[in-house]
Symmetry: C2
Subunit: 302 residues, 2 copies
C-alpha cells in the first residue's frame, strides 16, 4: 500500500514572475513528489500549489517551499483581494490514500514546529489540526490579516500562536498550518431554467440550512444551456457521500417534476470516492480498493 | 498516460517443483513487469501466470517464459485434466489501460512470429487475434490436444498453423497465442434459497440463451448462506456493462419478489470498469479517468 498525502500551500505572490518562478523551481527540483497544480492569480496576488506524495516527502517539500517564501516575500509590500496573513499563508495536509487524518494532524504539528523554529514565523493550527475550537475555521484564524495580527499578537491572548514566538515575523507575517479532508467539487445539473428550484434543493442538501454535515451548496443558473445547477463542495466525502447527496437531489428534483440531467466532478477525485459509489450501487460485498488493477500497480511502484 | 497490457500465459506443469520454480524465477527477475498471480494446479498439472506492464515489456517477458517452458517441459510425458496442446499452452494479451485491442492483436502476431522462429513451435492465433472464424474459440483450436494435433498437423489443412512450421514440435507441441478482453468474474447474490430463480435469471442475462452478448452465467446455490447466486464471467465489460447486467438481474429478481442482497467482484477489475459504473449512476458529464488522483499518479511514474 502506498501512502498518499496531498498538500495545498498558498503563498502571497501572484504577480512578480521572478519570485513565482523561483518558488516553482524549488518544487520542480523534487522528483519524489508530483506537482498537480500551480496557479498564480494576479488579482488575488496569490498562488495556489497542489502536490502529492508520501507523508515524509510532502512535509519536506512543503518546508522547502515555505522557506523560499519567507526568503523572497515581504508582506509589508503585499496587496491583494484575498485574505492573507503571511508570505507562506496556509499549509494544509490532506489524506488521500492509506493515510489517516491523525497522521495528517501529526504532519501539520511537525511542520509548524520545525518551520517556526527555523524562521521565527508564528504558526496557527486550523481545521482538523486546530487545538482550540475558535481556530477550526480558517477564516476566523485569518481575521484581521497580516496588518491586524501585527497589532494584536503579543497583546491579545486569543492571538497566541500554537508554535513559534508570540510576535509577528517582520516580513513573512504568520502562517496557518492545517489538516483537512479532500474536497470534491461536485455539481448536479437540473433540466429546468427555474433558479428557485436549484436554490431550494441547495438549501436541502447543505449543512448550514439543515442538510448533510459536510456539504456546502449553492444554486446557479447556467444560462448558455438554459438549465440550473446545484453547485457543491463535498468537504468530507467519507461521511457525506457523493452518491447519497446525488440521490437526495434526484428525489428532491422529482418532487418538482424536474429531471437530473447530469452531474460533474470538477478536478480531481480520490479512487476511494469512486469505489464507494460502485460499492453502493452494485451492493458490493467485501470489495477492496486493491482489487483495482491500477491501484495494485501503483502500490507496487511505491 | 501509461499503457498497460496484461498477459496470462498457462504452461503445462503444475507438479514438478524444480520446473515450476525455474519458470517462476524467470519471471521474477524482470522488475519492469508486475507479477499479479502465479498458481500451480497439481490436478490440472498446469500453472496460470498473470502479469502486467507496458506492451513491449510484457511481450519480452512472455517470450522468456515461453522459451523456458520449451526448454524444460516434455509434452510426451504430460498428463493432466485440463485440455492442452503445448508446453507453453496459451499466451493471451489483454488490453487494460490506454491500449487498444488492435495493439494486443499486433502483440500476439509479433509474439507468435518471433517465438515460432526461435523454437520451431507452431502457433495458432485465437479469439480477437484469430485469422480464421474457426479459431476464434480457444476450445476449438485446442480440440484433439497435443496427442491429436501430432497426428493431424501437416495432413489436415484446417490444422495449418498461423506461424511456424506445419509440424508439431517433438517435445513442446504447439502454442495458442491470442488477444482477448479483460474478464471480470462477477456474482450477484439473491435473497432466496430457490435455485430455479438463479438458473432462470442466469438464462436471461447470458449470451447463449438470448442475453447480453459478452456474458456467461450460471445459477448456483450457496448452501452455507442459504441463498442462491448468479455467477458470471463478463468477457467484455466495455460492451456488456457490469451496471447494466446488475440492473437487469435486479429487475428480473423483482419479478419473483426476490431482493438482490449483494454482489461480488472476484479478483481484479480495471479502473475503467469502476469509472463506467460511477459515470452511469451519477450521470456524469465529461468525466475522464485521469481525474482519479491515483491514476494521475500512476501515469506520472510511467
Amino acid at each position: 500500500m502506498v501512502k498518499i498525502v496531498e498538500c495545498v500551500p498558498n503563498f502571497s505572490e501572484g504577480r512578480n514572475k521572478k519570485t513565482i518562478d523561483a518558488i516553482y523551481n524549488t518544487i520542480k527540483k523534487h522528483k519524489e513528489v508530483e506537482l498537480l497544480d500551480f496557479t498564480p492569480d494576479a488579482d488575488h496576488n496569490r498562488t495556489d500549489v497542489t502536490f502529492v506524495g508520501s507523508p515524509e516527502r510532502v512535509k519536506a517539500v512543503a518546508m522547502d517551499i515555505a522557506l523560499k517564501c519567507v526568503e523572497l516575500i515581504d508582506m509589508n509590500k503585499h496587496k491583494g483581494e484575498h485574505p492573507r496573513m503571511g508570505a507562506i499563508d496556509v499549509v494544509p495536509f490532506i489524506p488521500v490514500s492509506d493515510v489517516t487524518m491523525d497522521e495528517c494532524v501529526s504532519l501539520a504539528n511537525d511542520f509548524a514546529k520545525d518551520f517556526s523554529k527555523k524562521t521565527n514565523v508564528p504558526c496557527f493550527l486550523y481545521e482538523e489540526a486546530a487545538k482550540r475550537e475558535d481556530r477550526k475555521n480558517l477564516a476566523d484564524v485569518r481575521r484581521g490579516e497580516f496588518e491586524g495580527l501585527k497589532e494584536e499578537i503579543g497583546k491579545n491572548p486569543d492571538k497566541m500562536p500554537d508554535y513559534g514566538p508570540n510576535k509577528i515575523h517582520p516580513t513573512a507575517g504568520a502562517t496557518a498550518v492545517g489538516a483537512r479532508f479532500f474536497l470534491i467539487a461536485y455539481n448536479v445539473n437540473l433540466g429546468t431554467d427555474n433558479i428557485d428550484i436549484a436554490k431550494n434543493i441547495a438549501k436541502v442538501v447543505r449543512h448550514s440550512s439543515g442538510g448533510f454535515r459536510f456539504v456546502k451548496a449553492m444554486g446557479f443558473e447556467i444560462k448558455e444551456r438554459k438549465i440550473v445547477q446545484v453547485s457543491m463542495n463535498l468537504v468530507n466525502y467519507q461521511k457525506s457521500s457523493i452518491f447519497r447527496v446525488f440521490e437526495t437531489i434526484k428525489n428532491e428534483a422529482e418532487r418538482y417534476g424536474v429531471p437530473v440531467i447530469g452531474s460533474e466532478i470538477v478536478g480531481l477525485i480520490p479512487l476511494e470516492a469512486l469505489t464507494d459509489v460502485t460499492d453502493y450501487y452494485l451492493r458490493l460485498e467485501n470489495f477492496k480498493r486493491d482489487q483495482v488493477l491500477e491501484k495494485k500497480l501503483l502500490d507496487s511502484k511505491k
